[in-house]
């Protein structure tokens, strides 16, 4: 296994230029397209992304808490806001909001990326995602998690630089490597679903069987475990 390298600015610029050619089979595309010459000139190992126009907040007045037992649709969990260009969204201290990148991107199968906040914003208290991984084959706008940990409200505007994207080469194994997640192809932020694995599903069923034995108690053994664990 070779070393996983972070792509340099000039390599990113090259990939973006190649993506412009219709003959490229699996291009890296970022739209609106950053200027490859400007990327190259920075000499950095990342590209800057900007804030989009859609925001999403949690409905604090409706929810008592969040739980993996909830299968509520995101529309019941969140409220969506649109902020047009030239206007601003004020993020107050302690508040949390989901947003998106202005850029729609298409990541080829041999690349992955990480979203990192910009230090200039971080020093003002605005934290942008912790470590959002972007998988090979992803397409769409990236959901960003924004939180104001500072002491002053921060006015954020669509179109302003908000985060940066570091690219990595992905080891090629011959098997298809694409992001099959639920977040593909979207222009708005999304909270997504919390997928339970086998153990978490079984634990959830035990809990439900104790609370609602008539409905969920059929498979519950005397020792409190399920007769068909994993169901």
């Amino acid at each position: 296994m070779g070393l996983i390298m972070i792509l340099k600015a000039e390599r990113i610029a090259d990939l973006l230029r190649q993506g412009e050619h219709s003959g490229t089979v699996d291009p890296l595309v970022i739209t609106p397209r950053p200027d490859p010459d400007a990327i190259e000139a920075t000499g950095a190992a990342s590209i800057d992304l900007r804030l989009g126009t859609w925001f999403m907040t949690l409905r604090q007045s409706r929810m008592t808490h969040l739980s993996i037992d909830d299968s509520l649709p995101s529309s019941q969990l969140t409220k969506t806001h649109f902020v047009s260009f030239g206007n601003e969204y004020v993020l107050h201290p302690g508040n949390f909001v989901l947003s998106v990148t202005l850029e729609w991107m298409r990541i080829p199968k041999d690349l992955a990326a990480y979203v990192i906040g910009r230090s200039s914003w971080g020093r003002r208290g605005l934290i942008i995602a912790t470590a959002t991984g972007v998988h090979p084959g992803f397409t769409g706008c990236l959901t960003l998690e924004l939180s104001n940990l500072g002491e002053l409200p921060i006015a954020i505007k669509p179109g302003m630089g908000i985060c940066q994207l570091f690219f990595h080469r992905v080891e090629q194994t011959g098997k298809p490597q694409t992001d099959a997640s639920q977040f593909i192809g979207l222009r708005k932020p999304t909270v997504g679903r919390i997928e339970l694995d086998v153990i978490a599903s079984a634990c959830r069923k035990i809990r439900l069987a104790r609370i609602f034995p008539a409905t969920f108690g059929k498979n519950l053994r005397e020792d409190g475990n399920l007769s068909q664990p994993g169901v």
Partner: protein, 421 residues
């Protein structure tokens, strides 16, 4: 209690509702400007009613109370329309491009910074799209709304072309300009069907009407003039269809079919040609404009039942239909002239092909020339049966992803327009 007190109470309640709506999150200021205009209008109405006292003329008081009540009937639905313009279900990304399009069309040659046209983009709780014409007290406002369940469907945006056609029709005062032409055609039709006309004329007393009396006999004139408004409205609706297809090309045909085929139940409207005639006219316009017509397009539509009219009105409706046939070529030409007078870019096959190629990669296209090209590419992708077959995780939510992609392309297009200044 008096009618005046009730009227004042109603206006106060209305203005309180306006105040509540003013607290909404308006994504674009035009809706809020419209709301403020309405508030000012009703503030004046309230001030007038409050100025009345025991010495005021009761007839004038009653008249003003009646007018204020009529205004409530007119404007309460409009408040709902403005409220729905703030709903995040709407395709907000199309606001900027559609506003530019409306300004290009309605104010050709005017410096962009001096354009007055405003747009309220909303949704309807009515499946008939675009039910509002220009509101006299909101001059310069264009109101566009798709049915609520479809208000985030970008592929239906071409239908806005029809609504913009109404705005052009009003601005050009075609009502005045075309009425003499309609009357001339109408008389020609009646002369060619003189016996039918005589039979349809409701039992005239005295001597039968002679052909020479067609434009002088008041009884006769009053009869045939009944169908002038029908013919005029049919002409307006057809013109609006032609404007829509001229601006948006093939995508207008697809959006039209999506929302209207095969047809609704019930009787045909007097102010529209029957459905197959309407579609046939649309296809004639498409042919004239060089717009490709989808195969078997006309077969997707059925005529509505004829209304249950008395013999004389049935004859008049057939006259109005015939007048439209005679007007059609002129209306097709007018739509061309009006769209060409603007700086709008007409749909381009090569451009929509280029955008479509980007859609195959699931990315928006850059440097688009028009909204129409994006929409034509979007519809082409919609009909491409093997679209994204090689990308199963994108294919799984094909329709959703295509709509998201088209909407994002609107935004990319708008950003580029902003950068161009």
């Amino acid at each position: 209690m008096s009618s005046l007190e009730f009227a004042i109470g109603r206006l106060n309640a209305f203005l309180a509702e306006v105040q509540r709506l003013d607290e909404c999150e308006f994504p674009y200021e035009h809706s809020q400007v419209a709301l403020h205009r309405i508030r000012d209008l009703f503030d004046n109405k309230l001030a007038l009613l409050q100025s009345f006292d025991s010495k005021s003329d009761p007839a004038i008081v009653k008249q003003q109370c009646t007018l204020s009540l009529s205004a409530l009937f007119d404007y309460v639905p409009l408040l709902g329309f403005i409220l729905r313009s703030t709903n995040v279900r709407n395709a907000f990304e199309v606001f900027g491009p559609l506003l530019r399009l409306a300004r290009d069309l309605l104010e050709p040659g005017v410096d962009k910074s001096k354009c007055q046209t405003r747009l309220v983009l909303s949704s309807e709780w009515d499946y008939s799209p675009f039910v509002y014409g220009e509101i006299p007290d909101l001059p310069g406002f264009v109101l566009i709304g798709l049915p609520a369940p479809e208000s985030s469907n970008p592929l239906l945006i071409p239908l806005a072309g029809h609504e913009l056609g109404h705005a052009v029709w009003q601005k050009a005062d075609y009502h005045t300009a075309i009425t003499p032409c309609i009357k001339t055609h109408m008389l020609d039709v009646i002369r060619s069907r003189w016996k039918e006309f005589q039979a349809a004329l409701p039992s005239p007393k005295g001597a039968p009407v002679a052909l020479a009396d067609l434009t002088t006999n008041m009884f006769c004139v009053q009869f045939w003039q009944q169908c002038v408004p029908w013919a005029l409205r049919q002409a307006e609706e057809s013109y609006c269809d032609f404007v829509g297809i001229r601006i948006f090309g093939e995508s207008y045909l697809h959006a039209f079919a999506y929302i209207l085929s095969p047809s609704t139940e019930g009787e045909r409207s007097l102010v529209y040609p029957n459905m197959r005639k309407r579609v046939s006219n649309l296809l004639d316009a498409a042919s004239s404009y060089g717009v490709p017509v989808p195969p078997h397009y006309l077969d997707m539509f059925d005529d509505l039942a004829n209304p249950n009219l008395i013999q004389s009105n049935a004859f008049l409706l057939s006259v109005a239909d015939s007048v439209l046939d005679k007007m059609k070529a002129d209306l097709i030409d007018r739509a061309v002239a009006d769209v060409n007078a603007s700086s709008l870019k007409l749909p381009s096959q090569s451009e929509s092909d280029r955008i479509f190629c980007r859609f195959l990669y699931v990315v928006p296209a850059e440097n688009c020339k028009s909204l129409a090209d994006i929409l034509n590419a979007g519809w082409r992708a919609h009909f491409q049966s093997d679209l994204w077959d090689g990308i199963p995780h994108v294919r799984r939510h094909r329709e959703r992803n295509l709509k998201e992609l088209v909407l994002k392309n609107f935004e990319v297009y708008e950003i580029e327009q902003i950068l161009k200044g």
